[in-house]
Amino acid sequence: MYVAVKGGERAIDNAHAWLEEERRGDPAVAELDVAQIREQLALAVNRVMAEGSLYDPDLAALAIKQARGDLIEAIFLIRAYRTTLPRIGASVPVDTGAMACDRRISATFKDAPGGQVLGPTFDYTHRLLDFKLAAEGETPQAPQATPRDAPTPRITDFLNRDGLIQAEAPSEDTPPDLTREPLEFPANRALRLQSLARGDEGFVLGMAYSTQRGYGRNHPFVGELRVGAVEVEMEIPELGFAIGIGQVTLTECETVNQFTGSKTEPPQFTRGYGLVFGHSERKAISMALVDRALRWEELGEDDMGAPAQDAEFVLSHADNIQASGFLEHIKLPHYVDFQSELELIRKIRAEAEAAQAREAAQ
């Protein structure tokens, strides 16, 4: 009698045991190891690192394995792990100008010092299923060239030299930390960029796309997109100088956007900025477009009421861990609330039916 909600504990344990079995799949098929995921599903690993806000390819690969390939679930695992880690200190800001570029392209110039380097890209591949991959086989070696030694100059610096693009004022302020302070509005640009960098790729992409379709259009060109490793340095108080503690691969996108100028300023290009862990071009470009759209106020543009211009809307809904948690919580029992609604609607209906009956009788 009345056992519907009893035995919850055993049900949970059994569900988890079944989940574990499903995760493994057919035991006759060889098990994936973490290194295989890290090496062969690198772009999934990159996304988990970017939105999980933790640069650790091995942990990201482990999370993907544990999450059965559900990347948002994997991001969640990384976030929950990350939040317990002690903070040893902050690194010196990374210098993306000194990046060892695997890929660097500009859409605004045919060529530029440093060249157009396509790197390992899906661009210009024909999206035809490669059935050779289904069979086992050796991957042919890609041809090699000597890497550039000198740092690759930034495209926007060429424009900056002529005053054609708005200069970004340097700031020595410590940026706010989204993971240690509650998000409050208005949010400054550093905070907005932080939120976008860990925001859901699909959401940021959708927001960026909406600006291209006219909801807060900002005429972007990809001034430069670069992907590669940068050195992470940290000031060691005992030493009195910064030392390299490792490398991270980043994707950086700077967009060049049109700007009509104002009464006080002649027309000048403006920028949007995207920076993401790993090789994540779609995310970096999307981030730059949304960043630019959110800058309408400081650039004296009109509020067109576009979703991508609305910082509170964008930042409050960009986080897929918050969004998926709240969305999926409606699976939890709500029968107490529902019961109270049931009673109310029965009461209102009973009164309405009584009123109708009275009218009919008259």
């Binding site: 990350r82 509650p182 998000l183 509005f185 861990i321 939890l332 107490v336 019961q339 609604e341």
Partner: protein, 292 residues
């Protein structure tokens, strides 16, 4: 959590607990005011009680006895999961008996048994802002609270009456605290609203929305209404089929394919306690038999 990692007592690190305790003290000092706090990512999803869990983690001491309920019941899946979490990470004693608990974490209900000054009731809150569905912008609603501008809420309640003849809010029914802040009591049925004037400390945690608010003991908590349409704490017009209680909040359980119903106490501990004391409803069996 199958890995053998040693976590700090009640999972959160001491710095984080201190940050949460500061927010709790501020919240208690300004009853009904929503204090922003730097909510952490917990190992359970946002929307599943992360706010309540963080508040509980910040107030729990090794000597506490914890009770966790969801929909009034100790054995609903998420209550089981949260209780297990604290057993694992804090090693505190747990109980299903309301009277034995020093900290009670709840979702959607207030226990039927009156709480005492020695108890803390922690609520899980999904949307802390009572004005949210009238005005989606946080920047606006914070201004409205600051200016005590609650006209919009009264207009909403008035429109309900004009349209339905009743205030069409059955749960998360807004209250005014100490004559100042309008507060969301979390999605408890309005039947529970009058219980909020109580001896225990009430703490509200909204993890995803990064807000904490609180009611000190014996705070004045008034459910919003009109003189000619006074607030009414309603429940199903039945006695509990198991324990015969006529004054407890009831769940409606569908019994068979023909849609036969039974009504039973949503507060499982309250119901079991009454049956143990010999009260039996029309379908009730003594507790001992039920547990075998």
């Amino acid at each position: 959590m199958t890995q053998n990692v040693q976590y700090n007592f009640a999972y959160l690190d001491e710095q984080t607990k201190r940050m949460i305790r500061r927010a709790l003290l501020k919240a208690l000092a300004i009853p009904g005011y929503q204090v922003p706090f730097a909510s952490r990512e917990m190992p359970m999803p946002y929307g599943w009680g992360t706010g309540g869990v963080q508040v509980s983690a910040a107030v729990l001491t090794p000597g506490d006895t914890l009770k966790v309920i969801d929909q009034g019941a100790d054995d609903t899946t998420n209550a089981v999961s949260i209780r297990k979490f604290f057993q694992k990470t804090a090693g505190v004693a747990v109980t299903e008996r309301t009277g034995e608990a020093s900290v009670i974490q709840t979702r959607h209900r207030i226990p039927e048994a009156p709480l005492t000054e020695d108890q803390i009731l922690v609520y899980q809150v999904p949307i802390p802002e009572p004005l949210r569905f009238l005005e989606p912008r946080e920047t606006e609603t914070r201004k409205m609270h600051a200016l005590e501008e609650y006209g919009l809420m009264h207009v909403k309640l008035y429109e309900d009456i004009a349209r339905h003849g009743h205030i069409a809010t059955a749960y998360a029914y807004p209250v005014k605290v100490e004559g100042r802040y309008v507060m969301d009591p979390s999605p408890i049925p309005k039947f529970d609203n009058p219980k909020m004037e109580m001896a225990a400390i009430q703490l509200f945690g909204a993890g995803r929305e990064q807000r904490i608010y609180a009611l000190p003991p014996y705070s004045r908590v008034v459910s919003l209404d009109f003189e000619d349409y006074p607030f009414e704490a309603s429940k199903a017009e039945h006695p509990c089929a198991l324990c015969g209680a006529t004054h407890s909040y009831l769940d409606e359980v569908i019994m068979d394919d023909a849609g036969a119903r039974m009504f039973v106490c949503s507060d499982t501990d309250f119901c079991a306690g009454r049956r143990a004391a010999g009260h039996l409803g029309e379908m009730g069996v003594p507790v001992e038999e039920d547990r075998t």
